[in-house]
């Protein structure tokens, strides 16, 4: 098994500092967050430029070049609702360290993002939903199959689609969280890869409780086969949980100083 893949989520236009940096084309705040995340062990960086309806293409190209030129062609997840911007970003993307990831497709209005990934030899994060959170695992697997078929029809390798089962929030939907874990197991058993935004699980919980919940659900998900996540890699507790789980799953070789490398 290959080790767990960490996609760093912190270059996100929801952050006021990053939003401003995008608007001003100011590299500093973006480079700072990229550096922090890579030093903390991120494998991929998510580059979320928001809806970016105007000027998205140029902005995405600027962002991709900025990150790759400064960080040895770091692989990137291109994250926006503007398809043209993703395509533009891929045009300037250097693949030497890994294919670009299109973030994200779903089985509803955003199914064409799969086509976009297939046409550009990219990977794609595929949400197992059409509208909102799926009601149960029958729905999740149905959407998963639809997305897989769509990709394979267009020549994609099954492992180039990363399926997101949609983690649900504990406060309010606690009873359904085991379904998500089960869905990860089912998708893994199909020989497919999974990913997801983990922080949704603890949304709304007090600050000191959130890391506990995030780490526990991550460990349980990894046991079900969860192969990557979109997280804040600078969260030390989470990072350490991933390393510990990777060791227990025999994904990485143990050494006494494993946390320091």
């Amino acid at each position: 098994m290959s080790k767990f893949m960490v996609i760093g989520e912190r270059i996100h236009c929801i952050s006021p500092a990053i939003r401003q940096a995008f608007a001003d084309r100011n590299p500093e705040p973006i480079l700072l967050r990229a550096k922090e995340q890579l030093e903390a062990g991120a494998d991929y960086l998510d580059l979320n430029i928001g809806p970016a309806e105007r000027g998205g293409e140029e902005l995405m190209q600027w962002g991709v070049k900025l990150l790759q030129e400064n960080f040895d062609n770091v692989p990137i997840a291109l994250d926006t609702a503007n398809m043209k911007a993703i395509e533009a970003g891929i045009q300037v993307y250097n693949r030497s360290k890994g294919k670009p990831i299109v973030n994200s497709a779903d089985a509803g209005d955003r199914i064409e993002y799969v086509d976009l990934a297939a046409a550009n030899d990219a990977m794609v994060i595929a949400l197992c939903s059409a509208e909102g959170v799926p009601a149960n695992n029958d729905e999740r697997i149905m959407y998963c199959s639809q997305l897989l078929e769509r990709g394979m029809e267009r020549g994609m390798e099954p492992t180039d689609l990363w399926f997101d089962p949609l983690f649900i929030v504990i406060k309010g939907m606690q009873d359904q969280l085991v379904d998500v874990l089960e869905a990860i197991q089912m998708i893994t058993d199909m020989g497919l890869l999974t990913t997801g935004g983990l922080s949704n699980v603890s949304n709304g919980a007090p600050k000191h409780i959130r890391p506990l919940l995030d780490c526990a659900v991550l460990a349980m998900a990894m046991q079900c086969g969860f192969s990557s996540a979109i997280v804040n890699p600078c969260d030390k507790r989470l990072r350490e949980t991933i390393v510990a789980c990777d060791i227990i799953k025999n994904n990485i070789l143990y050494a006494d100083s494993v946390l320091e490398f």
Partner: protein, 311 residues
Amino acid sequence: MPYKKAEQKFSGKINVCEIGVGDAAISIGGENSLPFLGTEGFKTAVGIAISDVTDEWSDCFGTIYGDDLKNPAALAKAAVEKSGADFLLIKLESADPNGADNSVDNCVATAVAVEAAINVPLVVEGCKNAEKDAKLLEKVAQALEGKNVVLFSAVEDNYKTIGAAGGMAYGQKVSAESAVDINLAKQLNILLTQLGVKSKDIIMDVGTAAAGYGFEYVASTMDRIRLAALGQNDEALQMPIITNVSNEAWGVKEAVSTLEDAPEWGDQEARGIGMEVTTASACVVGGSNAIIVRHPESAKAIKSLVAGIIG
């Protein structure tokens, strides 16, 4: 259905490590596949081992080297000439506090004389006493500055001294010895890297056993290390592997028993070579990037094996 060749591609790659200087320099490592399965990079270097204490060596070496056996510089020259080896290892066994307890200065002089006598890269082995080796290999690193030798080897108890002197102050290569312990192999690489030794200046001495004497642990250790380096892209394990089989191979009863002891086993020299070649070839296909033997015929056999596999 048309045949589709399944090819396992690895994301990781073994570091290239250069030893020696000028025309005599050689590179080891660089492969991105398991041994001999890739299209590039895998050519095992073969080294010949000598020692400054040869009293216990099998009689056949007296026949091969004659009086040179007592003179490390002359022995080094003869060993390289007779074996055609790519590099030479000198073991400074006389330094052993539980043996001759030769002084650091004397041993350093031996290493310098050996280096001057040969035109291939040099590996300097200590006496396997961690405390003495720290002092000894530090001085060797200093005396041979600019020669890009391998200090063989740093262990958990002396890696700081040997790493700082060899890998940093005097620009030598540091071999990290882990005695068939995969976790320790990784740990030592992490510790040396944290100390400031560059990854490309580290070589792994993961240890060996003579064939038939627990070698399966060696095989699984090498496999595991290579699969982690290549498949999991584990940078803490992407150093080339160097293996000295000479002490183990010539230390087992098959090699030690004389013809009088075991007449039914036949010629003692042939048995020793057999043990050494068997052990060395298993290490080579297991992933050793540099293999060290004692008998010139063993070196030739392994060189021809490697050439034959590469084709």
